[in-house]
């Protein structure tokens, strides 16, 4: 691919490309369309920062460490939402990473050829099912099924701070579970591609030395794919952090910080979905916009790190690895 483009480049230098006036217009036209993506990101950051200025001025840095969210008394703090977002995403990764990686290993290394296509398609379909459908399923199937499990956990492991309080069904545990289900296909699909991009020579060299499949995988293949797999996991984290509808429908939407997985919680994204249109006072809207700014900042950082890692695996792969 690089040879194709470098040859195109030399053609351009020799004046074959872009000599014509209409071609210059064409090129600048395309430039504008490409630049619009950069513009969207810049405008997004600017508008969110601008609109949350009143809240920033009023609350300052305390906004980030205040754990009270009380629209009635105009006291706003982001901590419960940041906590809920991070904990629910962490829970999701705890479940999704082993399953996602295992499935990726199966698809990339072990699966017979005839099974690979259909299973990959199922995984991709799982990634394409809309969030709202997961939410609907969560409300009517997952929550009723979860309640007895939570009662049991409360009775037998209730001495742990993780499982204290009444079992509502809705709450942090349900959110973590539904996020895990939604993140698994992403981690599977991206890390499968990373594994498949490992040169065959890495495996063949290990096999030639008498390694079993697992030994080849654990040693040369994983070492080669490490950064890419980490990138896949971080990409999954980004998905979980920004997920809105399904989480809003099962997490209980209460801005409290509680160690217990059984208690209702709130995330940045679900606060925006629930309260944004109900906010009537300017400072409330502004505080919500600051939540959006925080969410935007978190996802930009996460995605930047993930992309840097995926790109580092191999420059040429950068086109191949997307969600």
């Amino acid at each position: 691919m690089s040879s194709v483009t470098s040859r195109a480049h030399s053609l351009r230098q020799r004046g074959v490309f872009g000599a014509n006036a209409s071609d210059r217009v064409f090129r600048w036209g395309l430039f504008v369309f490409a630049a619009s993506v950069l513009a969207i990101i810049v405008v997004l950051g600017y508008e969110l920062a601008h609109a949350s200025l009143p809240s920033m001025r009023h609350f300052g840095w305390r906004f980030l460490i205040t754990s009270r969210w009380d629209p009635v008394h105009y006291v706003f703090g982001a901590l419960p939402f940041v906590y809920g977002t991070l904990v629910s995403s962490f829970l999701a990764l705890l479940i999704a990473v082993p399953i996602g990686l295992g499935a990726a290993v199966f698809l990339a290394e072990l699966s017979p050829r005839w099974l690979r296509g259909p299973v990959s398609f199922l995984v991709e379909l799982l990634a394409a099912v809309p969030s709202i459908v997961y939410g609907l399923w969560g409300i009517f199937v997952l929550l009723p099924a979860l309640r007895p499990v939570q009662v049991w956990l409360g009775q037998h492991l209730g001495f742990l701070p993780l499982f204290q309080g009444p079992a509502y069904g809705i709450g942090m545990m349900a959110a973590g579970l539904i996020l895990a289900i939604m993140v698994i296909p992403f981690i599977t699909a991206v890390s499968r591609e990373v594994l498949q991009a490992v040169p065959a020579s890495q495996r063949e060299a290990a096999y030639a030395l008498g390694a079993t499949r697992w030994e080849a995988l654990r040693g040369p293949v994983f070492r080669y794919a490490r950064a890419g797999i980490l990138g896949a996991i971080i990409l999954g984290l980004g998905r979980a952090v920004g997920e809105t509808m399904a989480v809003t429908m099962v997490i209980g939407n209460r801005p409290d910080i509680s160690l217990s997985l059984l208690s209702p919680s709130y995330t940045l994204a679900s606060a925006l979905a629930n309260e944004f249109l109900e906010a009537t006072v300017q400072i409330h809207t502004s505080a919500l916009l600051e939540l959006a700014l925080i969410l935007f900042a978190i996802t930009v950082v996460i995605n930047a790190i993930a992309r840097a890692m995926l790109w580092s695996v191999s420059r040429g792969m950068a086109q191949g690895v997307r969600e």
């Binding site: 630049a35 997004l44 399953i99 698994i184 079993t212 979905a273």
Partner: protein, 291 residues
Amino acid sequence: MTSAPRRTRSRVWEAKRKAANGTMWIVACTATVAAVIPLVVILYYVAAHGLPALNIAFFTQLPKPPGETGGGMANAIVGTLVLVGLASAIGLPIGILGGVYLAEFGNNRFGWGVRFAADVLAGVPSIVIGILVWVIVVVPMHSFSALAGGVALGIMMIPTVMRTTEELVRLVPLSQREAALSLGATQWRTVFKVVLLAAKGGIITGVLLAVARIAGETAPLLLTTLGNSFWSTRLDRPIASLPLQIFQYAISPWDDWHAKAWAASLLLVLLITVLSIAARYVTRGRLRAVR
């Protein structure tokens, strides 16, 4: 004499290695089953609850007032089609032409910046896109509108379409460009008449996948289109859509509305499955990288 104990030790070692290999096999297979089970379970419930409620009235009638049974989601079905059309009108030109730029002229710092921005934009939560459009479209227009929803969904389409187009345009052999140029074609003619034509199948795949991605989006529509329980196709007015209707019905207390929410979910899942299969069919495994 001395080799005998070593041989037994190596036999134990061999057995351990084989056991580790077998364990890995089982773990990976279990994980794959665990990854696929939720899909099967969700599809089962969507089909089982959705099919009984999917009747003619669902497609032809308007929603009944809260608490009354019957009615359908005709307005939401049309609304989703309108929104997808609007989004495509906004997102496809930017995505496709931007992708052509990246493939043809994008091997510089600016190109890498755009690629990076597209990847970041793909990761921005949809609710944040909704808020952006609320700020720049809904507030100035003083009204929630179908247009605002189309802008939000259009923005979400851009990264997928742009990166797929770039990838596919890059795969068109340079010799085809050279052939066109040597016949005296200008560059823009070469791109539109030769390169884009050659890359057509793959670009359609990207478009189908982008549509599948946005057709079920709910969060941005919540803040931009608001939803509407009456018939409306006006672009400057709030409009109904399937995902929003599902949300509204799911959190309502009425069983009839719950059944309709399942039916609408089934419709959405079917639409997305068809789009995904069509996307696969268009490229027919020609490109591993394109999903």
